[in-house]
Structure formats: structure tokens, C-alpha cells
């Protein structure tokens, strides 16, 4: 028990690590917000593009979405950070992490929005079109509001899961929470910064997990 206090909840060590850890905390939040904004917006736009049913374009879209769903997040980050420079595209570790996770979230949310669009009954389309609305107006004012409602519960779960991937940035030396914790830990030879880092993640994600539980209950969506 004493060991536990000394090594995992050493307040002196935590206090010393706090400035660096807070920087990591802020960076994690910034990356997460960027990923969510870019990812979900692109996902919605891609789903709208898909609704136009342009064959070759849709094949390409489905392939890219499948690719991003099949590859592990860390593999995508590694490719963007370590392979793209050979094609002349050099991105910083932070930008690489944001681009990779946002692309994955875009792929997943495109699938979810698209599934939402497809389950809006055909009669809705026909009714809206017959009142004189154009294709895009129908999509935006009639179909999407219903599709997005259905999409919210799965989208929340996936968004949380993918934003947790910000921790993977540590693998390409992004000084986010875990990156900072590891570097402080190696200096002070005490893992208390890791505990502090874990607590910081808890501060960010525990409320979100509760939110997802609430949304599931409210929308009556199992899993």
C-alpha cells in the first residue's frame, strides 16, 4: 500500500509534473476538437456526395471508407507520418495525428449518415419532390434532419472511440498527455505522472461515456 502511494500517487512528483502535463492536456483537447469538427463535417459532406449516386465516384468512396475502417488507427498515423514524406508530403506529428484520426472519423461517420439516409422511407423523397422541392433541398430539409437523428447514438459512440485515439499521437512523439507523462516519468523514475495522465483522460472521457449512456437511453438504441 505504501509502495502504491509512493509510486502511483506521489503528490510531490505530480505537482512537479503538473505544468508539463497541463500543456499535454490542452494539446489533447485541441487535437480532439479538431478531429471531431473535421471528421464529422467531412463525413456528412461525403454522405451527401454519395446521395447523388454517381457510380464511379461512389465506388471510390466506398473503397476509401472500407480501407479506413479496416486499417488500425496507429497504422494510418504511421503511414501519414513515416511514409508520406517519401511522396513529398511532410506533416508535423500533430498534424499527422489530426489528419489520420479525422480521416477515420470521416469514413465511419459517412457510413453512419449514409445508413441514416437510406432508411428514410422513399415516400418522403417522393412527397417532397412532388411538392416542387429540388433534389438537394429535399435532401437537406427533409431527409437529412431525420437521418441525423438516427445517426446520433452510434455517432456519439464512434466519436468517443476515435477521439480516444489522440493518445496514439504519443507514438509519433506528439507531446499530448501520455507523451508528456512518459517523458516526465523517465526523468523522475516514478510513474505518478502516468497516474495523473490517466486521471486527465478520465476527466475528458468519463463525462462523454456518461453522455453516450444517456443518449442511448433517450433514443432507445441498444448498443
Amino acid at each position: 500500500m505504501e509502495q502504491l502511494g509512493k509510486y502511483f500517487f506521489n503528490l510531490d512528483v505530480m505537482w512537479g509534473a503538473l505544468p508539463a502535463m497541463l500543456e499535454g492536456f490542452a494539446l489533447t483537447l485541441e487535437i480532439a476538437v479538431a478531429v471531431v469538427l473535421i471528421g464529422i463535417t467531412s463525413g456528412l459532406l461525403l454522405a451527401i456526395v454519395r446521395a447523388f449516386q454517381i457510380r464511379p465516384l461512389n465506388w471510390l468512396l466506398v473503397f476509401l471508407v472500407d480501407l479506413l475502417r479496416a486499417l488500425p488507427q496507429l497504422v494510418v498515423i504511421m503511414i501519414v507520418y513515416f511514409a508520406l514524406p517519401y511522396a513529398g508530403i511532410q506533416l508535423s506529428s500533430i498534424v499527422s495525428t489530426i489528419v489520420s484520426l479525422a480521416a477515420i472519423l470521416a469514413a465511419v461517420s459517412e457510413e453512419i449518415f449514409w445508413a441514416g439516409i437510406t432508411i428514410v422511407p422513399k415516400g418522403q423523397w417522393e412527397a417532397a419532390r412532388s411538392t416542387g422541392l429540388g433534389f438537394l433541398t429535399t435532401l437537406i430539409h427533409v431527409v437529412l434532419p431525420q437521418a441525423i437523428r438516427v445517426a446520433i447514438p452510434p455517432l456519439t459512440n464512434w466519436t468517443i472511440a476515435i477521439t480516444k485515439g489522440t493518445a496514439l499521437g504519443a507514438a509519433v512523439a506528439v507531446p499530448e498527455i501520455i507523451g508528456q507523462a512518459l517523458s516526465v516519468q523517465s526523468i523522475v523514475a516514478n510513474p505518478s505522472p502516468l497516474t495523473l495522465g490517466a486521471l486527465m483522460y478520465l476527466v475528458i472521457f468519463a463525462p462523454l461515456v456518461q453522455l453516450s449512456r444517456w443518449i442511448e437511453r433517450r433514443y432507445g438504441w441498444a448498443v
Partner: protein, 223 residues
């Protein structure tokens, strides 16, 4: 274009590092073979215990699940791998990775099975009990078979995520597929090994992604 192929699809490099990549693939598969059954079993245990409605136990299980869902899996792995040795518990890379992945996935599997069990009408259990089955028999022969069938889509999807997640073991230098690809890149000075690893992941997991797409659409249409 030639330069591009030289870098990203260099056959000589591929031949040179192929044995290394194969050994990495073996470790990845081994890790999956350990973590998927263990994660499913632990998750099922969590859900069954939850369904017993024993007050304090239920609260404890909810805390367990939500805590594990709030930590990024990499944070858990780093706590286990870098933290536990300070308590005298030194795990090598494979057991540490397996433990982190099983704990993490058990929370997701647990939530899925719980939703499945709760979706089975109470009358089923009551009917089984009144026909003379014990509580355990009712659970095993009546409730669980229906519950599991109801949650096949999220189970499949979660298993895909778990298989992809094995790649985080590369961060603690377990020589699985992603790690060996990175090692190989340092040997041949081009990203061909990384692209090959990505291709292996994709070929392995694409059928699963397609299947999940179909299952998701079917279950969403049912709502």
C-alpha cells in the same frame, strides 16, 4: 512515377523484409487468439453478473465498465507496462499487451452482452423458471442464446476493433506486424514494409468490414 514505385512498392525491399513481416503477422495473430476469446469471456461474465441485480455488485460493475471505457487503450497498456514494475510486477511485452487489450475489450463486450440480455423480455426468464428450470439453466438455455443472437452485429464490429487494436502493442516494442514493419523500414530506408503491413491488415480485415456494413444496415433498417 518510378520514384514512387521505388519507394512505396519496392519489390527488392519487400523480398528482403518478408520473413520479418511474417514473424510479425504471427505475433499479431497470436495476440488476437489470446485476447478475443478472453475478452469475450470476461465481457460475458461481467454482463451475467450485472443481470443478477445484486446492488453493490452492479454498481461496481458499472464503475469497472465506465472506467475502462474512459481510458484510451494505450493509456492502460502504458500503465501496465511502465507502471506495474514499480510494484514489483514485471510483465513482458506480450502478457502486458494481452492484459491491457482483454481489460479494455471486456468493458465493450460487457456492454454489448448486457444490452442483449436486457433486450430479452422478462417473461422468457419467468416462463423458463416456472417450467422448473433453475436460474442458471434459464440463463444458459433460454436467455443467453437469444441475447447473443441479438447482438451479433456489435459483437462482430467490436471484434474487428479489437483485432485492429493489437497494433498498439508496437508502442511497447512487441514485435507484432506494425512493429516489424517499422523495424523493416529502418533496414531498407523506404516505406514499402509499412505499405505491405497495411495491405496485410486490409486483406485480412476487409471481409469483416464488408460483413459488418451489411449487418449494420440490416439492424438499422429494423429500427
Amino acid at each position: 512515377m518510378d520514384a514512387f514505385i521505388d519507394n512505396f512498392a519496392n519489390l527488392d525491399s519487400l523480398i528482403e523484409v518478408w520473413p520479418l513481416l511474417l514473424s510479425g503477422l504471427e505475433v499479431t495473430l497470436l495476440l488476437c487468439l489470446v485476447t478475443v476469446p478472453a475478452g469475450v469471456a470476461l465481457g460475458l461474465a461481467v454482463a451475467v453478473l450485472h443481470s443478477l441485480r445484486i446492488r453493490y455488485l452492479t454498481t461496481l460493475l458499472i464503475v469497472y465498465v465506465d472506467l475502462l471505457r474512459s481510458f484510451p487503450p494505450l493509456v492502460l497498456l502504458i500503465l501496465i507496462y511502465y507502471g506495474l514494475p514499480f510494484l514489483g510486477l514485471e510483465l513482458s511485452e506480450l502478457p502486458a499487451a494481452a492484459l491491457a487489450l482483454v481489460l479494455n475489450s471486456s468493458s465493450y463486450y460487457g456492454e454489448i452482452f448486457r444490452a442483449g440480455i436486457e433486450a430479452i423480455p422478462k417473461g422468457q426468464r419467468e416462463a423458463a423458471r416456472s417450467s422448473g428450470l433453475s436460474a442458471l439453466q434459464a440463463l444458459v438455455h433460454v436467455v443467453l442464446p437469444q441475447a447473443v443472437r441479438a447482438v451479433v452485429p456489435p459483437l462482430t464490429s467490436n471484434t474487428l476493433e479489437l483485432v485492429k487494436l493489437t497494433s498498439i502493442a508496437s508502442v511497447v516494442a512487441l514485435p507484432e506486424l506494425l512493429r516489424t514493419a517499422r523495424m523493416a523500414q529502418d533496414l531498407v530506408y523506404n516505406p514499402t514494409p509499412l505499405m505491405a503491413a497495411a495491405l496485410i491488415y486490409f486483406l485480412l480485415l476487409w471481409p469483416l468490414v464488408r460483413l459488418i456494413s451489411k449487418l449494420d444496415r440490416r439492424s438499422m433498417a429494423g429500427h
